[in-house]
Symmetry: C2
């Protein structure tokens, strides 16, 4: 049943040629006669021959692999990894995914180990690292940290990230909303900070009232608690939640207090989760093109490998999806 692993030597023996000839034939290099070529190919086929990549890597000093490192999983990273993987393959690399966790120091150390292990030609990190990490890696093994998920406050990331918050507040104000609440993400996250700043700036610029910024942990409970702690006269108001799960918590809180959504409480999410369109009311949210984010990040690594400049000034990855959870405020004075 089981096949023993064949080496190029085995193939050479079966084909009656030198081992180096096998190597030439399979690499498509050298000048080998068509007959020999065919004999070798058949022998290789018959033995299910496949080059030992460890040996090849040692000889060529090229592994053809890059590592993609992730920390705590961002909400459904599959699409992002698919994009990165496709970009890697397009450039002639295979991508492995590795998970690291612990403090930023631990993660940085672990990434350096990967870079020094000789297993990878480059490392793309989707988790923040110490700035020094990119410099401590071996000369020929670039380490690139994806800006998309960086903990630092890059100007580009900041603006791109927060622009939907501005659009949300402006649109809701145009619908007639004057009172807002923001259930923010934890302030360790650059994206959470950027959105909070954008929220406060926009509310002030438009002369609106903010009932506050509540810091949450991206959980449904955070949204629920935020609503339950509001005064009875809070509605009508508009809530900018840090993600869809928080927004669902907000909706439940509203239901518990007898406030209607979207009339008494309009709410926006972030992430475009699968359930969004099927909630009642369906949820207004932000869709992020994760596959494109992955592709862009990998292209940065490939540019570093080729010692080229990385592409710049690309369009934002986010799109707003308007649904039923955002509407003009209900006229509460007209109520029974």
């Amino acid at each position: 049943m089981h096949a023993p692993r064949a080496t190029s030597r085995d193939v050479a023996r079966l084909a009656g040629v030198a081992q180096s000839t096998v190597s030439y034939v399979l690499a498509g290099k050298g000048s080998i006669s068509p007959e020999t070529r065919e004999r070798v190919r058949q022998a290789a086929e018959q033995l299910h021959y496949q080059p030992n990549l460890a040996a090849r890597a040692m000889r060529t000093r090229r592994t053809g692999r890059v590592a993609a490192v992730m920390g705590l999983p961002t909400y459904n990273p599959a699409a992002m990894l698919a994009g990165a993987s496709a970009a890697a393959q397009g450039a002639g690399y295979l991508m492995d995914v590795l998970h690291v966790d612990g403090s930023i120091e631990t993660r940085s150390e672990r990434v350096l180990e990967l870079a020094r292990s000789g297993q990878f030609e480059g490392v793309l990190s989707f988790t923040p690292l110490q700035p020094a990490a990119e410099d401590l890696a071996p000369t020929d093994v670039p380490v690139v940290v994806s800006e998309t998920f960086d903990d630092e406050m890059h100007a580009a990331g900041e603006l791109v990230d927060a622009s939907p918050v501005v659009a949300f507040v402006e649109h809701l104000a145009a619908l007639g909303h004057a009172r807002f609440l923001h259930v923010a993400g934890p302030s360790q996250y650059a994206s959470a900070v950027a959105r909070r700043i954008a929220y406060l700036a926009t509310v002030e610029r438009l002369g609106l009232t903010s009932l506050g910024v509540v810091e949450g942990d991206w959980s449904g409970q955070a949204g629920l608690d935020a609503i339950l702690s509001l005064p009875e006269d809070a509605p009508p108001l508009a809530v900018i939640a840090s993600n869809d799960l928080v927004a669902v918590g907000v909706m439940r809180g509203a239901a518990q207090r007898g406030w209607s959504v979207p009339g008494d409480v309009s709410v926006t999410g972030w992430d475009n989760a699968d359930v969004g369109p099927y909630l009642t009311p369906s949820l207004t949210t932000v869709d992020t093109d994760r596959a494109e984010a992955g592709r862009r990040a990998m292209r940065q690594l490939v540019a570093a490998l080729r010692q080229e400049a990385a592409p710049h000034g690309l369009p934002p990855l986010t799109t707003i999806v308007w649904r039923e959870s955002t509407a003009p405020p209900a006229d509460r004075t007209a109520r029974p």
Copy 2:
């Protein structure tokens, strides 16, 4: 800034010893004097020396790595991979994650390539493969397909998988429900088939009425469509949905038709998604211990690597979480 990659030769030169001595010291083998040991260790530290794993693998014929192969991502695989990774590390292996897609033939071929590449000591597949794949791999590279997600109908997997369906129907019947509907998953999935069989058998055994089994694609739309196509006199009924997303679609469908949940329509999900507790009503569902599933699968691979028997007869991985979406049927005759 950048450090060139150091080899054991570099360390030996710096420490003033033979290259083989470096190897002995770092492996903790051989009998090396404490002084030499210390000199070598310091030199290695100073140069950030780290053994080239490709070279080590070639010499030892051991890579210390196993591959975990996934197809289309199961709903949030992170916990499962974390469990598998922990089990691998506990057994002295590093785990890489690779994604494969395409037909079952393509995937099987790709997995065999991995097994023959010399990069991995074993392969654990979380995606179904052709039965022959496990036999065509090299003698010393076991390929194990995780039963948890197998497409084939294993007796064990079948029973374990479907038991919550039995419990759902029994419990709902005890609450007074007599009319049921099942929105099933696609019949290519073993789990979908097992649940459908369990549903039909239980409904019949208890003398209940089934309004049918609708085959869906795990989407919210499937749940929505199933409800919209029911006759006006369908309620009160209980819907067994194939997952939480489908269940949310069912809830939206009920809202559109003016049917209350859980009074007119009780509904159960599957997966214990994050949003479940915050929906209105909150969703009764099935929680699967994904980390344990990953651990068990990896233990099977490790058992194969050690040529030991795999553990058997383990308790099920599922727990039912009862919430608000399941309740006694409303008395519709008493309605306005």
